[in-house]
C-alpha cells in the first residue's frame, strides 16, 4: 500500500513538472454577461491547443477594466467600452494603449406582468423613457396605449423594476434610454449603476424576473438570453426606422450590421438605437480588452491565435448559447486590427 502511494506521488510530481513546463496559462477577467460564451470558447480552444490554458474570472466589467489596467491579468473583458479617462489611465500606466475587440452581441428586452394582458406589448422609446423616469405612471397612459391598439390596458399604477447591482445589462438599458431621451441623458445618464428615478431593485436577472412575476402591473428589463432560456414573455421596441421589432438573434445582428458602416477603428461603439428596419434597438457588443504591447512574445502569439480562432470558428458556437454572431463587416475589420497587438 505504501509503495503504491509512493509511486502515485512520484507520478503526480512528474506530471506536475511536465505540466508546468509545457502549459502556457493566460489569465483574463471581466464581464459576466459573455461568461458562458467565453468559458465555452476557452474550453474548445484548449481542446485544440492542449498546451494553452486560458483562465477567465467573471468578476464584472468594472473589475475587468481595473485589473487589466493594473496589469494583474493578461486581458480584460467588458460590456461597456472603456471611456477616454480609462484609456488615458491605461496609457499613462503602461506607455502603450489597449485594444477593444468585439466578440459577440446580446440584447436587453423589456418584460412585464400585467394581469389580464396576454398579448405581446409594443413599446415606443418615449414610453420606455417615460416609465423609467417615473413620468408615465399608469398602464393605460396614451403613450403606451397608442402603440398597442386592441389591447385592454388597466388603469393601474406601473411598478418599475431595475437591476439592484451594477451590471452590463443596466449599462445597455441606460445607454439606450440616454440616446432616445434627452431628459434621461441629463438627469440619469448611462452606467452599470445609476441613480434610478423610480422603482424597485432586483438582484440579478433572476431577482428582476422574480420581482416582476410576484408583482402585478410591473415592468423591468432582462437579457435576451435569460428571457429566452427561461421562457419569459417580452415586448417589442420601436427602432430608429420606426418599426416595432421583437428581439431575436437575427435582429441583434442586423443592429450590428447597421452600425458597422460607421464603426470607428477602435471598435468603441454603442449599437443601441442602430439604423436599419430589422435592427433591434437595445443591442450591444461585448468586448475583449487586449493590451497593444506584450513583453512576453509567447503570450502575445497565443492571444493573437485565440482572437483569430474566435473570429472564425469560434463564432459558430455563439447561436447555440443564444448570443448573436458578429456580422461579416465587423469580423473583417477586427481581423485587420489583430496586427496592432505587438
Amino acid at each position: 500500500m505504501k509503495r503504491i502511494t509512493g509511486l502515485l506521488l512520484v507520478v503526480l510530481v512528474a506530471a506536475g513538472v511536465l505540466w508546468a513546463d509545457s502549459a502556457l496559462s493566460i489569465n483574463g477577467a471581466g464581464a459576466t454577461f459573455p461568461y458562458p460564451m467565453y468559458s465555452k470558447w476557452f474550453d474548445e480552444y484548449h481542446k485544440r491547443n492542449a498546451n494553452l490554458q486560458i483562465n477567465y474570472q467573471s468578476i464584472g466589467s468594472g473589475g475587468g477594466i481595473k485589473q487589466v489596467t493594473e496589469g494583474t491579468v493578461d486581458f480584460g473583458a467588458t460590456d461597456g467600452p472603456m471611456n477616454d479617462d480609462q484609456l488615458k489611465a491605461y496609457l499613462d500606466k503602461h506607455g502603450s494603449g489597449i485594444l477593444h475587440f468585439p466578440t459577440v452581441m446580446g440584447a436587453v428586452v423589456p418584460t412585464y406582468n400585467i394581469p389580464g394582458v396576454d398579448s405581446t406589448l409594443n413599446f415606443t422609446p418615449e414610453a420606455l423613457a417615460g416609465i423609467f423616469l417615473g413620468k408615465i405612471t399608469k398602464w393605460n397612459d396614451p403613450a403606451i396605449a397608442d402603440a398597442n391598439k386592441g389591447v385592454k390596458l388597466p388603469a393601474e399604477d406601473i411598478v418599475v423594476v431595475h437591476r439592484a447591482e451594477s451590471s452590463g445589462t443596466s449599462y445597455v438599458w441606460t445607454d439606450y434610454l440616454s440616446k432616445v431621451s434627452d431628459e434621461w441623458k441629463s438627469k440619469v445618464g448611462k452606467g452599470a449603476a445609476v441613480n434610478w428615478p423610480v422603482g424597485l431593485g432586483g438582484k440579478g436577472n433572476e431577482g428582476v424576473t422574480g420581482t416582476i412575476k410576484n408583482t402585478p402591473n410591473s415592468i423591468g428589463y432582462v437579457e435576451l438570453i435569460y428571457a429566452e432560456s427561461n421562457k419569459i414573455p417580452y415586448g417589442g421596441v420601436k427602432n430608429a426606422a420606426g418599426v416595432f421589432v421583437k428581439a431575436s438573434l437575427a435582429a441583434v445582428s442586423a443592429a450590428a450590421a447597421g452600425a458597422a458602416k460607421e464603426m470607428p477603428d477602435d471598435f468603441r461603439v454603442s449599437i443601441t438605437n442602430a439604423p436599419g428596419k430589422a435592427s433591434y434597438p437595445i443591442s450591444s457588443f461585448t468586448w475583449l480588452l487586449i493590451p497593444e504591447k506584450f513583453s512576453d512574445a509567447t503570450k502575445r502569439d497565443a492571444i493573437k491565435g485565440f482572437v483569430k480562432w474566435m473570429l472564425a470558428d469560434g463564432q459558430n458556437y455563439a447561436e447555440a448559447l443564444s448570443y448573436a454572431k458578429l456580422p461579416e463587416e465587423v469580423v473583417s475589420k477586427e481581423w485587420k486590427a489583430i496586427s496592432k497587438i505587438q
Partner: protein
Amino acid sequence: MESYQQDPIARAEKVAMTTTTVPSAGPVAGSRSLFSRLREGDEIARMITFLFAASVVLVTLLLVLELWQGSVLPRHKFGFNFFRTSVWDPIFDQFGALPFIYGTLITASVSLLIAVPLGIGAAIFLAELAPPRVSDALEFFIDLLAAVPSVIYGLLGVFIVVPLMRQYIQPALKHSFGFLPLFQGPAYGVGFLTAGIVLAIMIIPYIISVSREVLLSVPRDQREAALSLGATRWESTWKVVVPFARTGIFGSIFLALARALGETMAVTMVIGNTPTISSSLFSPGYSIAAVIANEFTEATGDLYLQALIELGLVLFILTFILNGLARLLIVATSQRGSGTGHA
C-alpha cells in the same frame, strides 16, 4: 454554543472571553519564579494566548486603518455631508449615505423587535420548562437553523415571505393600523418590514441558542432557593433565573444585532434596493452591506469605489457605537442587581 462559531464577531467575543480569564490566573502564577513558570509552561501558555487575543485587536485596527485610508477622496470631497445627504448617483459622482444608514438601522431594529421576545421566550421554555430530552432535540434544530447560509434565507424571503407580505400581511396591517405612518403606501411585498422579518428569522436561532446555554448554566441553588421561599415555578424563572442570566442574554442579543447589521445577501434579496428614507415600513429601502455588495464589483472611478469603502467605514462605526451602547447597558443593569451572568 457551537452554533455561532462561523461568525467572526462571535469568535471575537469568545476570544475576548478567554482573555478575561487570563488576569484572574495572574495572582496564582505570580507567586512563583519566572523560571519555574516558564518550565511548567504557564508563562508560555500565557504569552501564546496573549498573542491570540492581541491579534484580534490588531486585525480590528488594521481594518479601520485600511477603511480610513481607502476613503480619502469622498471624505475630503463630501466631509460630513456624506452622512447628511441622500443622493447616491455614481454617474454624476454624488454620494450620500443617509438612506443606507437609515435602512440598516430600521431593518435591524425591526428584526430585534420581533426576534428578542420570541428568542428569549423560546430559550426560557427550552432551558426551564421543557423536558431535557425535548430541549436537546430542539436545540439540534436551532443549531441547524443558525448554520443555514443566508442566501437560502434570502430565497425563502423572495419566494415565500414577499408574496405573503404583499397579498395578506401588508393589506391586513394597512386595514387595521393604516392610520399610523408606519403602515402606509403601496404594498410591494419587498421593503423594510420584509427585510426585518427575514432578518428576525435568521437571528432568532442565535438568541435562543446562546440564551438557552446561559439559562442552563444558572446554578440549581438559585432556583431551589426561590422555590423554597414559596415562589411559583414561573416566579423563580422570571424573577430569579432570568435576572441572574441577564448579562449573557444581552450578549446573545448583541450577537444577533451584529449579524443583523452586517447581513448582506438575504437583505438585498427582499429590501427592494432603492435608497429611500420613508417613515413607512412598506417602502422599499437599502442597507449599507447590501449596496456595498451590489456595487463594489463594477465600481469604476476612484471616487465611486472609495465612497463604497467609506460606507464600509460607516458600517464599522455604526457597529462600534451600538456595541459600546450595549456594553454601557450591561454595566448599568448589572450594578442594580447581583447577577454576574455566565462567567
